[in-house]
Symmetry: C2
Subunit: 341 residues, 2 copies
């Protein structure tokens, strides 16, 4: 196990620190974040989810101890930990329910387990919500008080910040924007939860692949994608083909932007944010990449024509800035919120 040195010299004025723990099916990201939202140390350990949550909590605690030792800091420099995991979960009791990618952790009382192992009070959050709070605290939403994050990946998730506070919702399901419905037809494609016509069903990785397959079958258009078997027809392959000038591939990318925009119009007319932040692996290269920028421009254009005229120049849309760090930074930020009361 390697422990990174401090990313920045630690200024006493930025204490206390908050620990951010972001649990995924493969890795657990662990960061120490200062009171201004800057990470001062980071590490990553494998989840080894089959060994269960208790063992993982102990390994996280050990790693945190090593990180503090390397920094020459006392454990009491850390005021609180934030723990982000995939849902579904019961936030009130601190219990994980049955997240698909953590079978070994099902029904674990994760908040108590991590609190016991680390000796810290623990704030528990949905990982997508934590990422939204991270972008709000020190990423693409740092200058606004009302923000929506939408993450495009295998699934579509997100989180919502209203007046500087995370919209958790009455049952922890606030900001589950992948499950909003953009297609009311009875035969609309189902998503991973068998809900039909959802944003995730169209703009999640499987949705993009399915639309590409359908386009290849129904249009007679020539496309380099037609040489790929089903396994190889991934969003990355589609992006590469689009970049190489393949018209059908480009139409799939642009259609993804339009379908995302339809979902964004609903979100905007519901919570009316200042800023919509788009993140995740499936942003077609994202910021600074020609295809990613073209995708974002199309999202902006297609959203604009679907929202109130008075909002068109008011709602900003940008790529997320923190990448995979948003979850642990946001978890630390939510711990800070609870610490400050």
């Amino acid at each position: 196990m390697t422990v990174t040195p401090a990313l920045l010299p630690i200024d006493k004025a930025t204490l206390p620190l908050f620990a951010g723990i972001d649990v995924g099916g493969t890795n657990i990201k662990i960061g120490l974040v200062d009171d201004t939202g800057q990470p001062v140390a980071f590490n990553k350990i494998s989840t080894q989810q089959e060994d269960g949550a208790e063992k993982a909590a102990e390994r996280v605690a050990e790693t945190l101890g090593d990180m503090l030792a390397k920094l020459g800091l006392e454990p009491n420099t850390v005021a609180r930990a934030g723990l982000a995991t995939p849902g579904p979960m019961n936030l009130a009791t601190g219990q994980l329910l049955k997240p698909g990618n953590l079978p070994g952790w099902h029904f674990a009382m994760v908040r108590d387990l991590f609190s016991k192992a680390t000796g810290l009070p623990v704030t528990f959050a949905n990982d997508a919500n934590a990422a939204a709070f991270g972008e709000f605290w020190s990423g693409a939403g740092a200058e606004v008080q009302n923000m929506v994050l939408v993450t495009l990946g295998t699934g579509v998730g997100g989180g919502i910040i209203i007046d500087g506070r995370l919209l958790v919702g009455a049952h922890g399901a606030g900001g589950e924007v992948g499950h909003i419905v953009i297609d009311c037809r009875d035969d609309a494609p189902p998503n991973s939860l068998k809900l039909r016509g959802t944003l995730e069903g169209y703009c999640g990785a499987y949705g993009v692949e399915a639309r590409a397959r359908a386009a290849l079958e129904t249009t007679g258009a020539k496309s380099s994608l037609s040489e790929l078997d089903d396994e190889s027809l991934t969003p990355l392959a589609i992006a590469k083909a689009a970049e190489a000038g393949d018209h059908l591939a480009m139409s799939i990318v642009m259609e993804t932007a339009k379908l995302l925009a339809i979902g964004l119009a609903s979100i905007i007319h519901t919570v009316d944010p200042e800023s919509v932040v788009i993140g995740g692996a499936m942003t077609f290269g994202g910021e600074g990449h020609p295809l990613g920028e073209r995708f974002l421009d199309e999202v902006r254009r297609q959203t604009s024509v679907r929202i109130f005229e008075s909002l068109r120049s008011e709602v900003h849309m940008d790529f997320a800035r923190l990448g995979g760090d948003a979850g642990f930074i946001g978890a630390a930020g939510l711990a800070r919120e609870e610490h400050r009361g």
Copy 2:
């Protein structure tokens, strides 16, 4: 002009009072509401919108003065007024923009005008948001902290309460749930703002009528509705036919429930309320009416299959309770919120 007597004897413990003013295209409702959310006096004057906002403000102030005099109360018993109007508006500056049903008030600085006329500080709100806050404060949402109101009428509007506070949004467009998109097709029907595939476009009065016309044209089904001309084919006529056993009319009512449910699924996965309250003139008779109750049951059933399993027994759906009083009660409630700081 008539002034109603006090609806209830006034208990000093329930002071101060708040004035609630709900402006519509035809009438202005004026209420005095006590500190617990109970209306103690109510009046209604015609808007006479063509005379402009300033004249109306003066007539409202005069009516309020009469109401207080009848109650034997000093003007200083009223701590603040809440003013609800149709949007769009600029909440920050207190200026109305161009609401369709108030052409004579376009761009009026209504908050200042009403404050000057009444001598009271004024809280300004969107009328649908005020109605939502009314139902939350002393109607169907009185026992929850997280609530969504959806009102079905000519338009579809609403409001959202999160953790006991109205979700105003960054530009006053929070809870504009009529404009969420439930149909991503390019040829989906447009609503009054020419936005396509919106909840309002399907479940507003014109949407319901359009679906009935289309069903009469495309299905060969026998229906008593086929005897009506376009003018007579109203939601009320459809409701009456459905109650009389007309199958096509009933299918339109049930389809309205399904389309509403699709919109509700999106709202629920965005803000995760404890309670969804459905109001407005177009609830097919509403509470206590067999067709209204059947409509609501279908909304519940169709929503249930479109949301997370964990939410199905958790999100309550009920009819609004305050009817047309929700707006002035909620306006008074929002005034009280601002008064209490």
